[in-house]
Amino acid sequence: MPSPRRSTKPEPVIDTGWASAAEIVEAVKAGRVSAAQIVEDTLARITARDPVLNAFTDVLADRARARAAAVDKAKKKGPLAGVPFAVKNLFDVAGLPTRAGSKINRELPPAQQDSPLIARLEAAGAVLVGALNMGEYAYDFTGENVHDGNAHNPHDPTRMTGGSSSGSGGSVAGGLVPLSLGSDTNGSIRVPSSFCGLFGLKPTYGRLTRARSYPFVSSFDHLGPLARSARDLALAYDAMQGPDPEDPVCVDRPIEPALRTLAKGTKGLRIAVAGGYFKKGLFPEACVALDRVAAALHANAEIEIPEAQRARSAAYVITASEGASLHLARLRTRANDYDPAVRDRLIAGAMIPAALVNQAQKFRRQYRGEVLRLFDKVDAILAPATPCTAPAIGQKTFRLDGVELPVRANIGIYTQPISFIGLPVVAVPVPLAPLPIGVQIIAAPWREDIALRIAYALEQAGVCAAPRPSFQG
C-alpha cells in the first residue's frame, strides 16, 4: 500500500467560484489574490458554464482585464476592489448597443458612455465583465427570450430563472459573478432572486439613478443589485447612491449608507406578516418559506396591506399603457421584430383609454397614503416573493387550488402591489430542496437599511442563504 503523500500544491487563497464580493475585496486588499487573477477565473467560468446557463449576451474580456490591472496598480483600493460584476443588457455599456433584450435595439449605435451605476461601482473598484440576458424590453417574468435564447436556472437548467432580469439571476446563482445589476418595474429583481435563490434589493423609487438605462415604465422603473449575501447588496448599494440630475426621478438626498448598520440586529424592530391578499394563492413551498422567516424573526403579528389586489390591477393597467406609449412608433413599423408575446401585450396596451390609466394613477396616490400609515405601527412587512418555485421553461399554466392559471400573468402578483408605490424591498432566499424560493422584506420609503439589517440577521441565523448549485458547467 503506497504511503500517503502530502500534496505540495498550495491551497487556493479564495474560492473565486463562490466567494462573496466582501471576501474578494478582503483578499485583494490583503494582497492574497490580484484583481487580474479574479477576472481570469471569472472569464474561465463564464466560458465553461454559460453555454448551459445562457446568462451572458456580451463578455467584455479586454475591458475587464484592463480594469483589473488598474485596480491592482492603484495604491488606494476601493470598497469593491476587484469584484467582478455584470449588468442586465438594458444598462448603457460604452461600446455596446443597449439591446434591452430586443432584436430592434441591437441596431442602435453603441452607447458612448457607461450608465452612472456602472461608473459608480467601477469607481469603487469593481470590474464590469459583461452584459446579461433579459426578457424583451423587460416585459417579462419568465426569463424566456426568443432573440437571445432562454436563460436557464443554475439549480435546474430545465427551469426558468424568472425575469425580466434573467441573466442577472442566473449569472450570480451559477457562480459566474458575485454581483449583478438588474431592473425591477413590477418584480424583475425580486422574481429572479426568488427562483434562483439570491438576495435582491429593489430600493425606494427614486433612490438610485436610472440615467442611461433603457426604460420600460417610468412610473415604476427601479434599478438595483442581486448578490449571494446581504452584505454584498449593502456594499453595492452604498457605492451606487447619490443624486443625479440626469434622472429627474432620482432624489436629491444625501447618501445614507446601509453597511454600517447591517449587523445591528433586529431587536426593537416591529415586523409583521402581510395577511389577506398575500396569504392567498400560495403553493405549499411559499408558505413554508414565509413561515420559516416569520418564525426566525418572531413576527407573530399579521397586518393587512389594504387594497393590494386593486393596487396590483392598477399597476397592470399603468404598465400596459406606459409600455405601449414607449413602443408606439416601433409597433407601427417593426411589429414583426418583437417577440409575439410582448408585441401583442404592447398593442393591447396602446388601446387602453387614457381615462382608465388616469384613474389608476389617482388610486396610486390614495393607496400610497394608506400603506404609509402602516409604517406607524411596523418597521417591516414580510410577504412572499413568488407564489411558487421556478416553473419549467415553456410552462404556460400552473394549478392552484384546483384552478388552472397562466404562469406569466401570476408570477408577479405579490411583487406588483409593492413596487407600485416604490417601497424598498429586499428579497431573501430560503434554501428549500429541490429549489429555493424568496420572501420579501418590505420597509418604509428610504429605509433600505432596515430591510438589509433583517436580511443580514436571517442570513446569520442560517434561515436564509443562497444555495450553491451542484451544476458546475
Binding site: R310, A320, R332, I347, Q361
Partner: protein, 63 residues
C-alpha cells in the same frame, strides 16, 4: 351556414388599430383581444374604488 359571431371587442380593436395606425395581422387578434380583456377587467377593479373629484394622480408636475 352562419358566420361565427364576432367578439364585442373585435370592432373596438379594429377601430383603435386604425386610429393608432398600428397594422395588425389577423393571426395576432386573438392574443390582443385576450390581453385587452384582462386589462379592462383589471381597470374595472380600479374604477370600482370611489375617489373624490379632487383626487390628484400620483405623478405631480412641478414647474
Amino acid at each position: 351556414m352562419t358566420a361565427k359571431p364576432s367578439h364585442p371587442l373585435d370592432a373596438y380593436i379594429e377601430a383603435a388599430a386604425a386610429a393608432l395606425k398600428i397594422p395588425i395581422e389577423p393571426a395576432w387578434k386573438a392574443e390582443i383581444r385576450a390581453n385587452l380583456e384582462v386589462t379592462f377587467k383589471l381597470a374595472a377593479i380600479v374604477a370600482e374604488k370611489e375617489l373624490p373629484d379632487d383626487a390628484e394622480p400620483a405623478p405631480v408636475y412641478q414647474a
